[in-house]
């Protein structure tokens, strides 16, 4: 088999020219010295950190895993969900620079972001549509793990962590919906709160907790905002860590249509 020719990773101009006989009398040109020490500096910084942290081992443990035969595009849905979450986190942080969670200012500040802030409409749009994208992706990912039987032993715990992530993502959707504070946000939140209130025995108190009182009041919005931007994203980030640790630890499942290969020895013995 002919060896594949890999593309040249360093442009020719940057490659040190081989020295011609008699050139430099064994000494290197300044340019070569600069290139070489630049490369060495990078390596020694990485070495310096690795010597003190042993991070390269952890990186190798997570990145260079054995992957079963038949792994396909459906296995990227989990990472896609994670990137949707990261996109929400980043755009959310920047929206928070202009958003004002007070009942008299929230609507106005959202309008300001959309109509006046440079790229405001774009960043808000990313956050708003990204929320839907994340919901769609998380369900597709859940469907993938379900139909591939990836929830079975020994991955039950990862399924459970996934369910918690799903619920937390839904809490994000619910609490985020109030923040623009227009008529739709407001009445949708009233309805959602009353749905929470219909749980027997504890429901009425849960509704009071969410509203911070018996009526939708001055602090309800702030409460939803803090749940939306601090409490739940933190929990999601931590649980994604657990989720991925378990994926790296247990490995991913092979697709159900891939049969285990019989060892060579058994095959010959059967004949």
């Amino acid at each position: 088999m002919p060896k594949l020719k890999l593309p040249n990773p360093i442009p020719d101009q940057l490659r040190p020219r081989p020295q011609r006989p008699g050139e430099g009398n064994g000494r290197k040109s300044t340019k070569d010295v600069v290139i070489e020490s630049g490369r060495d500096a990078g390596i020694s910084v990485v070495d310096w950190v690795d010597e003190r942290t042993s991070l390269s081992g952890a990186a190798r443990w997570t990145m260079f895993r054995k992957v079963p035969k038949g792994t396909n595009w459906f296995y990227t849905l989990g990472s896609a969900t994670m990137f949707a979450f990261l996109s929400q986190a980043v755009t959310g942080v920047f929206l928070a620079m202009y958003y004002d969670p007070s009942p008299t200012r929230a609507y106005e500040s959202t309008r300001h972001i959309t109509n006046e802030v440079f790229l405001g409409e774009f960043v808000r749009g990313m956050h708003k549509w990204g929320a839907t994208v994340m919901m769609v992706l998380i369900f597709l990912h859940m469907g993938r793990t379900f139909f591939f039987g990836a929830y079975k032993y020994p991955r039950e715990l990862n399924w459970v962590v996934g369910v918690v992530l799903l619920v937390l993502t839904m809490i994000m959707s619910l609490t985020g919906y109030l923040l623009p504070f227009d008529q739709r946000s407001f009445w949708a939140t009233i309805v959602a709160d009353n749905i929470n209130g219909t749980g027997p025995f504890l429901g009425p108190y849960l509704a009071d907790f969410l509203r911070a009182g018996p009526e939708f009041g001055a602090t309800t919005l702030a409460r939803f905002y803090s749940i939306h931007m601090l409490l739940v994203p933190g929990a999601i980030a931590a649980l994604i860590g657990v989720h991925l640790y378990l994926v790296a630890k247990l490995g991913t499942t092979a697709p159900p249509w891939v049969k285990a290969e019989e060892p060579e020895q058994l095959r010959t013995e059967k004949v």
């Binding site: 009353n194 209130g197 907790f209």
Partner: protein
């Protein structure tokens, strides 16, 4: 077996633990481990409990009854409602306001006056399905909800759609010649009064026990 148990004397001295004191039953190691755990638990509680109480506080806070002037008693009639806007939450701007429909007590439809809070009927606009704002349509003498088609009759009883109980009401009273609207209360399908519940919580039969009175319920003064 019995012998083994005898071997384990409660005294560290008997168990040949180096540095044991006479009469000592707990080793220093166990004492240190125990106290580190105890202090850790105390530190966690010192941070966690106030934060939890801070977030849960409003659930246990009794509200004060507020009475709001909506005009003179002569402004209202007993055959139709007049909308009035009152504030139910201060400091929340527009959001803290709500519309109430007010009319005089009408013996023909309401029966005899129950008490001094019953001379006027003030109907809440919160739909008792899930809380959307209902509107009174004079031509049909019905309250209609825009969300899922809930319909209520002239006294606020459910005449169609998903709502689980009649529209809530507000206490009313006349003070110094002015009509005042007070705290909200809920009613079951016979218009018996209950402490205010949220929308979606039925009050007939078992409902009144499934959805108990809340700590935030204000006291009438």
């Amino acid at each position: 077996m019995a012998d083994r148990r005898k071997e384990k004397s409660p005294y560290t001295e008997d168990r040949n633990i180096p540095g044991a004191f006479e009469g000592e039953t707990v080793t220093r190691r166990r004492l240190m481990v125990g106290s580190v755990h105890a202090f850790g638990a105390m530190a966690t509680a010192a941070i966690g409990l106030p934060a939890l109480g801070f977030a849960l506080g409003p659930v246990f806070e009794r509200q004060r009854a507020r009475w709001e002037d909506v005009g003179t008693p002569e402004d209202f009639v007993d055959f139709t409602y007049r909308p009035k806007v009152i504030t139910v939450e201060s400091g929340a701007g527009e959001v803290g306001k709500t519309t109430v429909y007010v009319r005089k007590h009408n013996e023909e439809v309401d029966g005899p006056v129950k008490d001094s809070y019953d001379d006027f009927v003030a109907i809440s606009t919160r739909c008792m399905h899930l809380g959307c704002p209902v509107r009174y349509i004079d031509a049909s003498q019905r309250f209609v909800c825009p969300c899922h088609g809930g319909v209520y009759d002239f006294v606020g009883k459910v005449s169609g759609g998903p709502p689980v109980r009649p529209l809530d009401r507000f206490y009313t009273r006349v003070r110094r010649g002015r009509l005042e609207i007070g705290p909200r209360y809920s009613v079951n399908s016979e218009l018996r009064r209950f402490s205010p519940r949220d929308a979606g919580q039925p009050l007939d039969g078992i409902g009144q026990y499934l959805y108990p009175r809340r700590f935030t319920t204000p006291e009438l003064d």
